[in-house]
């Protein structure tokens, strides 16, 4: 048992480290390290331009989307090499935030279902950050119950074979700056809900698309509503067979949970630092037994996640697939972060109300964490959906009984009141 790289891994790490040292935008390092929670505020530098520039530089040198095949803009690297890259790239990895959905979810879906010509056309610019992608999945009526989505794709009546899209998506991260998207639609409402779905990809500049940012509960706007009015898509932009959209979406979502679950922060180091300098009635907070008990609980959750990750890395390092234990990441990190934020606020007492980063304790980090953490427990699978996944896929418990399972979609009740 050790934490050491194999000789091959060490050589790869050295190569990565040297390239990053010679090429990374070091002038942004301090700003990136102290960036606020849930936003990339770099005071004067346009985050979009900085992100695109770094991604392009990486792509030109063969360091973008390491796990993708070289033909599509990647490096054909092993999973463990991808992890080593991520470890070495920090803190510049924060510049990759706007590409996560494209690289982690849309790319793999295109890789699995697009034609060869399409892959060669779309994947390299996606890898290089020249085109940003988003995923048009969630809807007002289809969040956790994604297959309940209602956006319609119908064959055009002009015999062109095109599809006409009408409906509405919601919670689309980055729709307002995306160039391309993958889109799941309902093509047949007369069959049970999972069977009438079809996946497409399209340009976000296609006529008939309207994007409206959502003002979130924390005041920021990372998500959007996207409206479709008679949007026309050629049949060549269909991914998978008509009616196979659910199967295609599972490819995307599996990748979503992999990307989101890895390396999540709980806020513990920041809280510990705060407790070492904030006073309570009994002296420093960190010396108070009641505080220590809470800190210990969060400390072992944080290290537990870290070492669970190390176990997964060990499996990758041996060329094996990591076990199911990695599925706990977001389920532990999300609620922990929220608890930590609330406790950090409690320690600050009345002054904890101040969120202005110029004045607030720890630059307002805990206030931002407090206001952002509810979203962490919902996005990419709610805590409850994640518990279902662990119960069903890891522990082998029966799936929930679904009253809408064999009912044609257009016969499923949509209101609790008749």
């Amino acid at each position: 048992m050790n934490f050491d790289d194999t000789p091959a891994e060490a050589a790869f790490r050295a190569e990565v480290r040297a390239w990053i040292a010679a090429n990374a935008p070091t002038e942004l390092k301090t700003a990136l390290e102290s960036a606020g929670f849930g936003s990339l505020d770099m005071k004067g530098v346009d985050p979009m331009a900085a992100s695109k520039a770094w991604q392009k530089k990486k792509a030109d040198a063969g360091w973008a989307c390491l796990h993708w095949p070289k033909d599509y803009g990647g490096r054909g690297a092993t999973p463990i090499e991808r992890v080593i890259w991520g470890q070495e790239e920090a803190p510049y990895g924060a510049l990759g935030g706007i590409f996560i959905i494209g690289h982690g979810m849309c790319g793999p879906t295109m890789m699995a279902f697009a034609s060869e010509d399409q892959k060669r056309r779309y994947l390299p610019p996606l890898a290089a950050g020249e085109e940003i992608w988003c995923q048009l999945f969630s809807e007002p009526a289809g969040g956790s119950d994604l297959a309940g989505l209602r956006t319609r794709a119908e064959p055009a009546t002009d015999g062109s074979g095109d599809w006409i899209i009408n409906g509405q998506k919601i919670w689309t991260s980055g729709a307002h700056y995306s160039d391309m998207a993958i889109l799941i639609t309902r093509t047949d409402p007369t069959v049970p809900k999972h069977k009438g779905l079809t996946m497409f990809f399209l340009s976000m500049k296609t006529p008939g698309i309207e994007i409206r940012p959502i003002k979130q509960a924390n005041g920021q706007s990372g998500f959007n509503e996207v409206y479709f009015t008679d949007v026309r898509i050629p049949d060549a932009q269909r991914l998978g067979a008509v009616g196979d959209g659910w199967k295609v979406s599972l490819t995307t979502l599996m990748n979503e949970r992999l990307s989101i679950g890895s390396g999540m922060s709980t806020g513990f180091p920041e809280l510990f630092e705060l407790c070492c300098r904030i006073e309570t009635e009994n002296g420093l907070a960190v010396d108070d037994p009641a505080v220590r008990s809470k800190l210990a609980t969060w400390a072992v959750r944080t290290t537990g996640l870290k070492y669970t990750g190390f176990r997964a890395l060990s499996a990758l390092s041996r060329g094996e697939t990591p076990g199911p234990e990695n599925s706990i990441g977001k389920l532990v990190a999300g609620p922990t972060m929220q608890e930590i934020a609330m406790f950090a606020e409690d320690l600050q007492a009345q002054a904890g109300v101040i969120s202005d980063p110029e004045i607030a304790t720890a630059n307002g980090r805990f206030q931002a964490m407090l206001l952002r953490s509810p979203a962490t427990r919902v996005e990419g699978g709610t805590d409850e959906i994640l518990r279902n996944i662990i119960a069903e896929r890891v522990l082998g418990l029966p799936a929930d009984i679904r009253v809408d399972k064999d009912v044609p979609f257009n016969k499923i009740p949509t209101s609790a009141r008749n």
């Binding site: 220590r292 008990s293 072992v300 290290t303 537990g304 190390f310 060990s314 518990r387 279902n388 522990l395």
Partner: protein
Amino acid sequence: MNFEFSDDQKQMAAEARRFLAAKCPTTVVRAVLDHGLPYDQALWVGLAEMGFLGVVIPEAYGGLGLGYLELCVIAEEMGRALAPVPFSSSVFLATEFLLAAGSDAQKAAWLPRLASGGAIGTFAHAERAGAVTPKAIQLSAADGRLTGAKTAVPDGGVADFAIVTARPAGGSDARGVSLFLVDLGQPGVTRTTLQTIDPSRGHARLEFNDAVAEPLGAPGEGWSILEQVLDRAAVLTAFEQIGGADRALEMARDYALERMAFGRPIGSFQAIKHMLADMYVSATLARSNGYYGAWALSTGAAELPEAAATARVSATQAFQHCAKNNIQVHGGMGFTWAFDCHLFYRRSNLLALNLGGQSQWEDKLIARLRARNAAA
């Protein structure tokens, strides 16, 4: 990165699991519990024959001379089987005290007998209710003789010798605490078996009346030696707890799959599924933290104090969480004497107290993290 047990170590775990499945089904645990036996002697002899009592004892002293990773995987299997034997007292504590501070003569006298199962050793520390702090040690030592009492001593009723904390009369600081090795077979020692929350593991009160004692380690070094040994024992106990937690989770999962209510398996209800998912989360975090402790213990890393407290706190949480929810999933049947759920519940709460309670370990963990941060 190789943060995993080796194939050889996994094979050793599998061997221990096969052995315990054959020699220690829960009927064996139950027999000790039902009949007020101190431990299961046949199992103890079998464990000695397998070499499991002397895993880390050097070959020169009759042990296997293997490392702590091997001992960790065996500890996990012992916890899973709820083995009703003085394993933790003899192996995690008495052996570790001798290895850490014993003289050559003491090692030669006791280690071969510990490895063969011919002698049982234990650690006698607590004197009254409450956290055992230096000032709580009042057992008096004078001229190689001990007078006073220790309470809730694990395996105190059957141990051949005990490592005992004591001090010259009157003091209260850590520097006054010394360790003594005491033969419990002498007339100056009176043992009283105690009724406990987990009768599958024996406990006793030990009264010392001018009992002959030989020093273990230097005078006044007792507290610092015991802190080191408790850290080592904490990692090993964490594996015992991890094994118990995993088994309790499996029992709950299996019952949820077979028990029908309202026309469906209860494991199809989200209230039950989510409870089980949370148990899986606790058990997984504890296992990963345990690996960290095992790494630190096996390599003698400077991080051991922090890693041991981390493993301990996490494993205590997980075993208590899984054992109590195992009863909850079983409903009324879980509260019957006939079902095994209470065996795990009892053991989880016993292990949470042996070596000091959860709040003490939480306190140690944060104190150690603080010290490291201050040093950095």
